[in-house]
């Protein structure tokens, strides 16, 4: 197992390298540059700015320099927020996005999982229909609709929560973003859980366990749930990578200083270094969580072995 993990981590290096290379050249193909704006700059002033950030070097040299810096853990300065390095921006924003994402994921797995099991155990009865209806609604209403409704109802009408802002991570400021992030995930997890649980309950080993007179609780939790968890585990990996790296919509609407919005803002601003930083962070999260999924597979399903 340890060998397997090491091997996977080693193969992650070329993967990252390819991702970085592609991103580096793709963002530079996009028309316009970091210093194009409504108030145009004279060629001389623009040249001064480009020289300051090394953008006047030939592209291959810029690429070489970037890789060299990256290998030393240096993501470079942000072009559009020159008071900060990309590392500083991530140091401030990533913990916030991770925190909100982790809370939303936990909520989604616990609540979605429970709802899915409840639905599966009451297949084709009202409980089941209620869960399916809620899940369908939850996964079809977009976050940019849910978020303003939460602000309006909890913030303005009932005065229970602040409208937005981070406020040094005060509890009330997290509720809206976490709920908005979690709702669609709850819906997806509930549907997945219901489907796989129904499937698992039809298994021969369940029939055998029931025939042996095991209690309902024991049959469901010890025997059915274990197998039924596999689809959830494979879904949760990429979902975790996506949730933990922040959501541009949720962070913009709730005015949360996470890194989710950098992904879009930096690309629109042609803030090359910040775009690259975001790509690297998301790539690392995706690689790590996919690895975690594969390890969990072996834990949950004894048939899976990595030798």
């Amino acid at each position: 197992m340890l060998m397997y993990v090491l091997r996977r981590l080693l193969t992650a290096i070329p993967t990252l390298f390819i991702v970085v290379t592609l991103a580096f050249f793709l963002i530079r193909i996009a028309p316009g540059g970091p210093f194009n704006q409504e108030r145009g700059l004279s060629p001389e002033i623009k040249a001064n700015l480009e020289a300051q950030f090394g953008l006047d070097d030939p592209l291959w040299l810029q690429y070489g320099n970037y890789l060299n810096n990256l290998a030393h853990g240096n993501f470079g300065p942000s072009y559009n927020l020159p008071d900060f390095t990309v590392t500083e921006l991530f140091a401030a924003g990533l913990p916030i996005s991770v925190q909100l994402g982790a809370m939303a994921l936990t909520l989604a797995l616990l609540l979605g999982g429970t709802l899915g099991i409840v639905a599966a155990l009451h297949q084709n009865r009202w409980e089941d229909y209620a869960v399916i209806a809620t899940a369908t609604a939850g996964s079809t209403i977009p976050t940019f609709v849910i978020a303003p409704i939460i602000q309006l109802v909890f913030g303005l009408t009932w005065n229970l929560l602040p409208i937005g802002g981070w406020n040094d991570g005060a509890w009330p400021n997290k509720v809206g973003p976490v709920l908005t992030l979690a709702l669609p995930q709850i819906a997806i997890v509930a549907r997945l859980m219901r489907g796989s649980m129904i499937e698992a309950l039809r298994g021969h080993h369940i029939r055998t366990a029931r025939a042996l007179g095991l209690s309902d609780w024991s049959v469901i939790v010890k025997h059915a749930l274990r197998g039924a968890l596999l689809p959830i585990v494979s879904y949760a990996g990429p979902a975790a990578a996506a949730l933990l790296t922040g959501s541009v919509i949720v962070e913009t609407i709730f005015a949360i200083p996470g890194i989710g919005r950098y992904f879009v803002d930096a690309a629109l601003n042609r803030d090359y270094t910040l775009v690259m930083g975001t790509v690297v962070v998301i790539a690392i999260f995706t690689i790590v969580f996919n690895l975690i999924v594969d390890i969990l597979y072996a834990v949950v399903d004894p048939r899976v072995r990595y030798d």
């Binding site: 108030r39 609540l111 429970t114 409208i163």
Partner: protein
Amino acid sequence: MAFKSLLRATVFASSLIMAGGVFVSPALSETVFNRGNSADPESLDPHKTSTVYEAHILRDLYEGLVMQDQNAELIPGAAESWTISDDGLVYTFKLRADAVWSDGSPVTADDFVYAFRRLEDPATGAEYASMLYVVKNGEEVNTGKAKPEELAVKAVDPTTFEVTLNAPTPYFLEMLTHQSTFPVNKASIDKLGADWIKPGNLVSNGAFTLAEFVPNDHIKLVKNPKFHDAANVKLDVVNYFPTEDRSTAIKRFEAGELDSNDDIPTEQLADLKAKFGDQLRIGPYLGTYYYAIKTDKAPWDNVELRNAVSMAIDRDFLAEKVWQNSMLPGYSMVPPGIEGYEPAMATFAEESQIDREDKAKAVLEKLGYTPEKPLKMEIRYNTSENHKNTAVAIQEQLKPLGIEVTMVNTDTKTHYGHLEQKGDFDVARAGWIADYKDPESFLGISRKASGNNYSNYNSPKFEELMDKAAADGGKPELRLKDMSEAERVLIDDVGQIPLLYYSYKNLVSPKIAGFDENVMDVHPSRFISKQ
């Protein structure tokens, strides 16, 4: 299990409500102004400034030689007085003796020498370096043709700062109110390098100092007790909250989280007016929304055709229906509001829209274009719902004339990249906001050599009048008249198509006083108080 989760959620929610009560109540002893700002500043270094968003903050943090009061009128800043030589070339500023940096050291003439050189030094990479091109050797230093030490600025003694200009420039003092000319503390830059700008390190000389800067979250400024006019500064804390989502900003204002906000979602203007009444303040702002038109490319090189297009556009409709009166119909490049200057309006401005359409139609018919055999025109615009709606409205307005409009929408960087590289287009959306209160700011962008002259407008007569205005720098009235004549030429040539004048759109709580309305939309926190 489900029941337990529900129970937990209820407990969780009620604890939040209790926590919420604690967090909303502010400390009684401090006066805190929570100020909504549409976006984060790009930099708190005045020499790296580039947007209006940081202008508010920099004005609070630093004090230039001269400043603006709550009415955007020029007032003494770090300089208590100044004299101008008879030829209009040499400005001598007398610095106030009691001006100090937030670390207690005095603000001296050397600080301004350092700041002006730093702004022009190519190594700084200052976007607004061109502000000091009027200073002798300014442009030469910035383009690497002279050393920063050769810039014509001098510390005569610790409290006397002298600047020599290339030519008499009546708007020089007005330019010095711009944040890019504010001083920075040399000692802390020498000592800390790039970290001088960080909260806790930043030494500034304004009414407030920097306490916190969390990107995308907030900037906290606290009153500077060492500021020379600290006795009259009524706020203890100013928090700037960048709230990019305009609807969220409105809700935060409504919930009392923000005391003011500097923008609104214009599509909701009618509702917001009904809801907020006097708290919503809209008024003329020095900015022009215009279309650049390729004046050197057939068929747009025909003045008559350009004028017909401009004439046929119903600006009242754009202002009222598309922009919900958050913009005003515009017929000149220089918006009204600059003292002593008479903008040159398009000659058709006073005619009825129906007459204008008929005239425009006649011109197009004469040129051989009809709805059956239309002229094709492409409008490029940068991504924005309102820019799109404006282009769509113009498309409809030009259709009966026999002009078939197609639209190309790109993101902002692509749009301006295309314009800057003189890419091909017919008509392109652009806008201009005044950096300083002078017609030069708006007319300069149509000069042949300007990088912002997207229309490729090239008129010897316009150039001549603009040169004459520069030469008449010593006679302010004559100079303004020259520029008005230059604008007349530009407008009659339809070198650009002005469409709308910008308005400022502020939401201000009744608790706030001193947030006065002015055409520059300048509101120094130093003059603001809160009940």
